[in-house]
Structures are given as C-alpha cells and as structure tokens.
C-alpha cells in the first residue's frame, strides 16, 4: 500500500477527439477514505474522466495515479484496486445475480471459495437474496443498479468509481442507493462519484468539483459551493395585500425578494430549522396568516447560472 494520503491524483488531464477538446486540464485529488463528487451537466466531461481513470480510455496529456499506480504504465495494477459502476459498466443479463457476482469475483482473481462467500455476503447486504437465482434481465432498474454496484465491490477494491449511479432511478431506489453508498463510505472506501444533481453531491460527498466544458470551474465542500451560489430560500405566500404588507414590515431586513402581485416574500435561510422557526415566530407574534410556504434549495442550475452565467442545458457530445 502506498502511504501517500491521496488515493486518486489527477494532474492536468487532457483529452481531445480531433479538434474537440473534451478535457482541458483537469486536476483532482481525492484523499484516501473520502468521497469526491464530480458535478456537471451532460457533456461536461464527467464520464470521459471516469473512463480514463478506470483504464478504459487513453488520454492525451497529464498524469493519473490510482493508489500510487500510474494508469498509463500500469493499468493491470490499477484494475485490481478499482471498482467501476454506473453508466459505462454493465451486468450480464442472461446470468443470475449470483452468477454475475461469482464470475466477476473470479475475474478479479478471487479463488472460488472466496468469490462464492463474498457473493452471498453482497446479495444479503444489497437486499438481493430473493432474486439471487433469477437472470438479471428480470430485475427492476433499482435492483439492476444495486447488482451493478455489488459486482464492482466483489473484491472489496479500495477505490470505487460511481458514474451517475442514480440517474434514471425512482426516488425510493435513489434513496436506497444513497444509503448503500453511505455505508460504503463508512467502511473507508475512497469514492469518486459523478452526478448531475447538486443534492446528491450535497448528501454524500466530502468535497465537490464542478466541471463544465472539460474544465474545473469550482471546488470545495457543499457548504462552500452553496454559499457561492446563495443559500436556501424560504418562500412565504400571504392571503391578501394587508397580510403581505404586514409581513414585509415584520420580517424587515431578512426579506430577500418580494412579489406584490403574488403576495409572496422570500427570505434567505442558512440553518433551515432555526431560520424557518424564527420567521414563523415573528409572523405569529404579529398575527399574520401564511397561506403557503416552500423551501427552495439551490439547484445545479443555480450553481451554473452563478458560476458560468449560463444554464446547465448545454448538451455537447460526450464520448461513449
């Protein structure tokens, strides 16, 4: 084991297809045992980066080391310390869940006994015991994604790449996936996650790197990024002009924006619990009736709007 503190180190990574510069000097450092989220819209270069880091794609410049192994010169060593899951990986649809796990375990060089024991352990852990002996093509989207992740964990690699693990999942499956990922982090695995969703990065990652057009445009903790973009907002609507005017007066300085037509005001909240309570206390002390309230969290769109001045929907062609 290398003793350096970074499990993943990427310096000035460059990749282009002809005149299309997909990556223009990406720098990433992931401390061992932490999770970094690579956040960006479609075509930002997320998948390209993951494919390079997991030895699937050659690159044109820069250096990439995983657990101290150079991706360019020692891909086999890299492959034995990584697990890849998500968009660019897959499971065998005609094999059962168990067969998939055992096969991939054997290909990771586990012996037969270990592969089988570990497969059973993962089936248990990922709630796939009942479906273990059914072909994977009969699985639901969420089950397939869980199997896909289980497969990449079969040899307990110290580094895991999760390429948009929850894209296309329904909310329940998404939360189940998050819980699994959290457990994985608790076990000390180093994780690189790519996602289009800020809340996913927010929920899971220690650090976030925002990329767009093949460049890093911001990085930091979720809190740091959000404060760049602006905080959560509480939007309050009132029954009539009178209540609206009274509320605006009572809330005073905390009002960020107001809309007379809609009878609504919005206030910035930093700590959801406290700030919402404070606002409501003020309103009830003044006997003002609230007709509705919503909490708006900054979205990836907000981050992008503030960082690049453009909307996220700028689909470019990304390497498959």
């Amino acid at each position: 084991m290398p003793t350096k503190e970074y499990a993943i180190e990427v310096n000035q990574l460059v990749k282009s297809y002809g005149s299309n510069d997909v990556l223009q000097g990406i720098d990433l450092k992931v401390e061992r045992g932490t999770m970094l989220a690579l956040l960006g819209p479609n075509g930002a270069g997320k998948t390209t980066t993951v494919r390079i880091l997991s030895t699937l794609l050659k690159y044109d410049g820069g250096t990439v080391t995983i657990e101290g192994n150079d991706v360019a010169t020692d891909p086999d060593k890299v492959r034995s310390v990584i697990g890849l899951t998500g968009q660019s990986a897959a499971v065998d649809e005609l094999l059962t869940g168990r067969e998939n796990l055992v096969m991939m375990g054997r290909l990771y060089r586990l012996n037969k006994k270990s592969a089988l024991a570990r497969a059973n352990e993962l089936l248990e852990e990922f709630d796939l015991v009942k479906a273990a002996d059914r072909p994977a093509k009969t699985y639901s989207g969420g089950m397939r994604r869980r199997l896909d992740l289980a497969v990449s964990l079969i040899a307990t690699p110290p580094v895991i790449f999760l390429d948009e693990p929850t894209t296309g999942l329904d909310p329940r499956s998404r939360i189940a996936m998050w819980n699994i990922i959290k457990k994985l982090m608790a076990g000390g695995t180093t994780i690189l996650l790519t996602t289009q969703y800020l809340d996913e990065a927010d929920q899971l990652a220690d650090r976030i790197v925002v990329i767009d057009g093949g460049k890093v445009i911001a990085e930091g903790t979720a809190q740091q990024l959000k404060s760049k973009v602006g905080n959560d907002r509480l939007e309050l609507c009132f029954v009539d002009d009178k209540a609206f005017a009274a509320a605006k007066k009572a809330l005073g300085k905390t009002v960020a924006t107001s809309d007379e037509k809609e009878h609504s005001v919005s206030i910035v909240i930093k700590n959801t619990n406290e700030d919402v309570k404070k606002a409501l206390d003020v309103l009830s002390a003044n006997n003002i009736m609230v007709s509705s309230m919503t909490v708006h969290k900054p979205t990836l769109d907000d981050v992008f709007l503030s960082l690049t001045g453009k909307q996220t929907a700028t689909p470019k062609k990304e390497a498959k």
Binding site: R79, S88, A90, L107
Partner: protein
C-alpha cells in the same frame, strides 16, 4: 468485512487460461438460457434435413451416382450448412457484448480481455457439436446409413470441429466489425448463403454452369462436404480430406490473430 478474501496466486498464463474457462462457462450458460437459440439448435437441423430429403430427394436422385441414396448424399452437406450458419452466433454474441457495455466492465477488471472471444468461439463449438449429433441421430431415424468405420468417424468429427472453429473465428471478426446485430445477420446471410448453396452440399456439381462450377469446386465448403461425404459413403475422397484441413487451418491461422487484433483495437479507444 466478514468474509476473508483469498486471491489466486498463479502465473499470468494460467490466470489467462482460467479467464477463458470462466468466459466459456458464461457463453455456454447464454446458450442454455437463450430459449429461441436453443430451439434453433435442436429443431432447425432436423427441419432442414427432413425438408431437403423429402422435397428435393426425388428430383435430385436421378443425378446421383448409381446406388447412392439422396439422404446419404445430403447428410454431409446439411451438417456443413448447419454448422456454417450456426457459427454466426459467435458474431452475434461478440457484437452484443460490445454494444451492451459489458466489455467495458470486463476491461475494468484485471483479466485477459481476449478470453471474451475464446468464450464465445468455444461455446459455439459445443452448440454446433450438439446440433450435428442431433442431425445424425435424426438422419439415422429416417433412414440414413453409413458404412464408415470408427476411424472414419473420428476423421469426420475432426473435420467438422476444425471447420466449426475456423468459421466461428471468421464470425468473431464480423462481430467485432459490425455496428449492430442486424448488420451481423445481414452480413453473414449474404456470405454464408451463397457459399453453402454454390457448393456440392445439396446437389452434384455436374449440372451447374461452368463458371459456377469452377467456383464451387475450389471453395472450402465443397472440399469439406466432399471429404465428409466420401468418408461417410466409403467412396474415394481424392484430395478433399487434405484440402478440408488445409482450408480450416489456413482460415484459423489468419482469423485468430486478426480477430484478436481487431478486438483489442476496438476496445482500446
């Protein structure tokens, strides 16, 4: 972690061999699980055999050498045709793997990637062997008789296996190059259909036009069919047995490295 993991500590060559065994198991499971294909493996050969023997039998019989029954004549041809068409499943399987992204998963593992091709080719060999045995048994049931000795049968088995292997590797090339499974089916159709019909598989060559006959006499299918037929009927084989081996081995010598090279190139973008 509850489970203590033990890793194989063996030389690289041995590990690569194990990878191939794992992939053979995988592809073989595909054959068993893919019900449509499995039906094809059993019923298509029987259907072709019975249809050809009963529909064309009467018409072609007068053109055959005296004393040769059409069913006995047909057997070699129908086996080779079935195997030639059967080998195209390798192309479909390889193409499928490349399209569906599972090859990416394999490539992210510390395994020998060419094991994927080996797996498909060898499992195809199993499947075609089963098809051939089914066909011979069906043939025996409807009146096929052969005077071949045990040694002759070994020779026949050798020719068929080598031919299957050669065509499966050719098929692997098609699978790597093709952009879609439909493309594979179309491509194999326009190559294998003329190759098997413009041969002595179903009819004697004498009635063909001179140009067609010249083509038929010198292409691999005819040599392989004639070699098997001669061994089954106990007639003189001429140079057909030799040519059958030369063609199959020749194809293998070119197709194996070419398929491997193309596969590596395709997957290392």
């Amino acid at each position: 972690m509850a489970v203590e993991l033990e890793f194989e500590k063996k030389p690289k060559v041995v590990l690569a061999f194990i990878d191939s065994l794992i992939m053979i198991k995988r592809s073989s499971l595909h054959i068993i699980r893919n019900t449509d294909q499995l039906l094809g493996t059993f019923f298509q050969p029987i259907m072709f055999l019975v249809l050809f023997a009963t529909v064309f039998g009467g018409a072609i019989a007068p053109g055959l050498p005296a004393g040769v029954d059409y069913l006995d004549f047909l057997m070699a041809g129908i086996i080779v045709q079935t195997v030639a068409f059967g080998s195209t499943t390798t192309a479909i399987a390889v193409c499928n793997d490349l399209q569906k992204g599972i090859v990416d998963r394999f490539r992210s593992l510390p395994m020998a990637n060419l094991a994927v091709l080996n797996g498909h080719v060898i499992s195809d060999l199993f499947r075609n062997t089963i098809s051939t045995i089914v066909m011979i048994v069906a043939g025996l049931l409807i009146g096929f008789r052969s005077g071949a000795s045990f040694v002759d049968w070994l020779m026949i088995a050798g020719i068929i296996l080598l031919f299957t292997l050669a065509f499966s590797w050719l098929s692997a090339i098609v699978g790597v190059l093709a952009k879609s499974v439909e493309g594979v089916q179309w491509l194999t159709f326009i190559v294998i259909f003329p190759l098997t019909f413009a041969s002595s598989a179903f009819v004697p060559l004498d009635t063909m036009t001179p140009i067609l006959k010249a083509f038929a006499e010198n292409q691999p299918i005819t040599h392989i069919v004639e070699a098997i037929r001669a061994l089954m009927l106990g007639t003189p084989a001429g140079d057909h047995v030799l040519m059958a081996f030369v063609w199959s081995i020749g194809i293998l010598v070119i197709a194996v490295p070419l398929a491997s090279w193309l596969f590596r190139r395709k997957t290392a973008q």
